[in-house]
Point group: C2
Chain length 232, copies 2
DNA sequence: ACTCCTAGAGAGCAGTGATCTCGATATAGA
DNA sequence: TCTATATCGAGATCACTGCTCTCTAGGAGT
């Protein structure tokens, strides 16, 4: 793994990781606005200016944390789905969403970093949008498998507003030519719905209604599984 | 309106409003993290310490902006619904959601303040949760009217996870004893869905899929109207 | 006319992100 | 093995922030 890397390079990579870890630790306590380069440096026993050898500025550190978070969330979903037999399509759907929600609950501040309001000065490098896509691709994979196995209940045809049909067609052509517009629309809808629910839960909007919201979340997962045509 | 208020009180109220307006102006440009009391004071031609006569600290100013935002969003929804004849239930549903989305698009930073990640040091005073409820209450009103007029298609009975049924019953008892669990679950679900969609749109998560997302949003509104049983 | 109280000014403190310079040192090439 | 180079971290510094304190001018209420 480390073959061909000089001691310096390894040290640099390690320290970079330590900086991010310490930053994550601070994030866990106070949230992104309170993340202070100086405090991170202090905790690591160095001086703040040294930190600029590793990250050009505060935003760059935050961006690194953001892409890491996308990666972690994507990995959690992929792993969860991988543990379920490929032919249990609905269970895979469930596994993916529960993994996403569990990860979010376990890392609320990192979740807020990626699905909360964008931090000031965010530039969404191409890096992050690829990482962000992973979770949707996992779900899409589940649906494609289900479709290929002929285990997807066909969806009723729906009237789609003008521009939407074209947007869906473009996505279909790029990602899953065998699927229908209706299914794709429902996938996007489910994706929106569940991240909406996770956000509402974590950001406190369910306080006073369905809080704690584990059961409501489970209800949504089943409901949306039905809507995309996954058989019980 | 101003009867019985001394000149001093009026001046104070006016300046308070000016401070909030200037703060909103800065919010529009840079986001909440960049909101600076000193900059606000500077722009208003006073010194920063004077500002503390009006707001105890930065968080208190932000909290004021948050409750204002909830109020504005709630008012926008109420007005939109009020312009539609009471018997056009589905149109009222549409009007409410379109008003919410339009307001969010017109005030993205204020939207982020209330539906993005909670700002550090948020304490969600009781004030805000009442204001936050207004929009849901508008929707609930639309559904109650529809139900009272017998114009709501009955919903299929659904199996609800253990705790959820109890939570829904409590809400039903408090807000609308005549409605069914299924309808309430769908209302919460629609609420989640549409704010999820607004957030995804504003925070850039639809880039590369359904962006611009006006049509997708319209699709969701119709879909959810169907799901809560509003007849076309 | 007298007090009282409030709004605002100004100085100051501790903390922040960021930049620059300057030695120390590990690396790489001869 | 010796040396030139690139990297790293320290320290000082700048402009900025939120916030507190003290002080004064002047309007409000008696």
């Amino acid at each position: 793994m480390n073959a061909g890397r000089t001691a310096r390079e390894r040290a640099r990579a390690e320290l970079t990781e330590e900086i991010k870890n310490e930053a994550r630790r601070q994030l866990r306590i106070e949230g992104p606005a309170a993340l202070s380069l100086r405090a991170v440096a202090r905790e690591l026993g160095m001086v703040s200016s040294a930190l600029y050898r590793y990250f050009r500025n505060r935003d760059e550190l935050l961006t690194a944390l953001i892409t890491d978070a996308y990666r972690a969330l994507g990995a959690a979903a992929e792993q969860a789905v991988a543990t379920v037999p490929a032919e249990d399509h609905r269970d895979r759907w469930r596994a993916c969403w529960h993994a996403a929600r569990d990860w979010a609950v376990a890392h609320p501040h990192e979740y807020a970093l990626i699905y909360g309001s964008p931090v000031p000065g965010y530039h969404a490098p191409g890096d992050t949008i690829a990482a962000a896509r992973r979770l949707v691709l996992v779900l899409l994979g589940v649906l494609r498998d289900g479709h290929a196995a002929g285990r997807l209940r066909p969806l009723a045809r729906v009237k789609l507003p003008g521009g939407l049909a074209g947007q869906l067609d473009a996505l279909i052509a790029e990602f899953a030519p065998e699927l229908s517009r209706e299914l794709f629309a429902r996938l996007l809808s489910a994706w929106t719905q569940l991240f909406g629910a996770i956000s509402f839960e974590l950001f406190g909007h369910y306080v006073g209604s369905v809080d704690p919201s584990a059961d409501f979340f489970a209800y949504l997962i089943e409901d949306l599984a039905d809507q995309v045509g996954l058989p019980a």
